[in-house]
Chain length 162, copies 2
DNA sequence: TGGATATGTTTTAGGTTTAAATATTCTAAG
DNA sequence: CTTAGAATATTTAAACCTAAAACATATCCA
């Protein structure tokens, strides 16, 4: 065993502890950014973050999405989506529509007003994130993205189940 | 304008869009891991993630913490901590104690049973995270940690407020 | 002493999951 | 073709988490 390896305390950290540290950092960063974005959405647009997420999903699909599609895309439970949509419908930002072929399903779409409001929100949102992550340049962002890419998909699907 | 610049689509992405992509990846990774950990805590130990977080904070402070200290450390609202502690007290995992000097404050401590249970949870938890992040080796973890380190602190404090 | 500050709880509104209930569609045996 | 059972889509209910604001005490300090 060589001496240099003993000198560096970081190298001495077990890998499992190092991964735990990494997880703590990811979690804290995500929560901090999320809290900041949530505050600004509430103050500037009187919308919650989950409501914004739903509108962002719908904006990409002019033909609308079913409740289950929304639930899967946003990685939240189906029962959860119901309540969020209820409130967005009350605010007239989205509408529920019955599809022609399947009477079990419900199609949710942005209203004209919903699309208009979301466009303004999305523009501001991108500016906020750009500002909050201003310390990352293009290369760093790309590296980080590559590291994180696919991680979420791997975990809840074929991921290594202990 | 040179032709090569037009050919690479990634290089053509505005930095602000790249940062938005990065944020989406961080958020999705955090949510996926968090959901997985939450499931396993519930199934194996019948504890919620916030309850686990509180116990983890208390385990580091044998003399206990006040409600406000807990609230600040965990970055959640003070009114929130009340409910979590209420349920942990019901389960006899923590106790509320009145400090001698300040009659406003309340000291919260792990019970003997709380410490014993948490020790088992923490061991399993570290194994889960180690497994979920198994694709990261020590060097990658260190690089990622350095990138994320301090980010959360900078955001909610002196961070660039738009 | 009296106003400002600090600590904790309660209330209100919304978000979240799981489990169960309801309704519809699909499938395959008869 | 019919129909029973499985699978799918959504909602509802219960329990918990969350932030913000209002509130009640208690402490500090000028």
């Amino acid at each position: 065993m060589n001496v240099a390896a003993k000198i560096k305390p970081k190298a001495a950290l077990p890998l499992s502890k190092q991964r735990l540290r990494l997880w703590i950092r990811i979690l804290r960063a995500a929560r901090a950014i999320e809290a900041e974005v949530r505050d600004r959405l509430r103050i500037n647009f009187d919308v919650t973050l989950p409501q914004f997420d739903v509108m962002a999903a719908l904006e990409r699909k002019p033909d609308g999405m079913t409740m289950t599609e929304l639930s899967r895309f946003l990685m939240v439970s189906n029962g959860n989506v119901t309540g969020i949509i209820d409130r967005l419908v009350t605010d007239k930002l989205v509408v529920r529509q019955a599809p022609a072929n399947d009477r079990r399903a419900i199609i949710v779409k942005l209203t004209t007003r919903g699309l208009k409001d979301f466009t303004a929100m999305a523009k501001a949102h991108q500016g906020w994130v750009d500002n909050l992550l201003s310390e990352f340049d293009a290369a760093e962002a790309e590296t980080l993205i590559e590291h994180l890419d696919g991680l979420s998909g791997r975990i809840r699907n074929g991921g290594t189940r202990s």
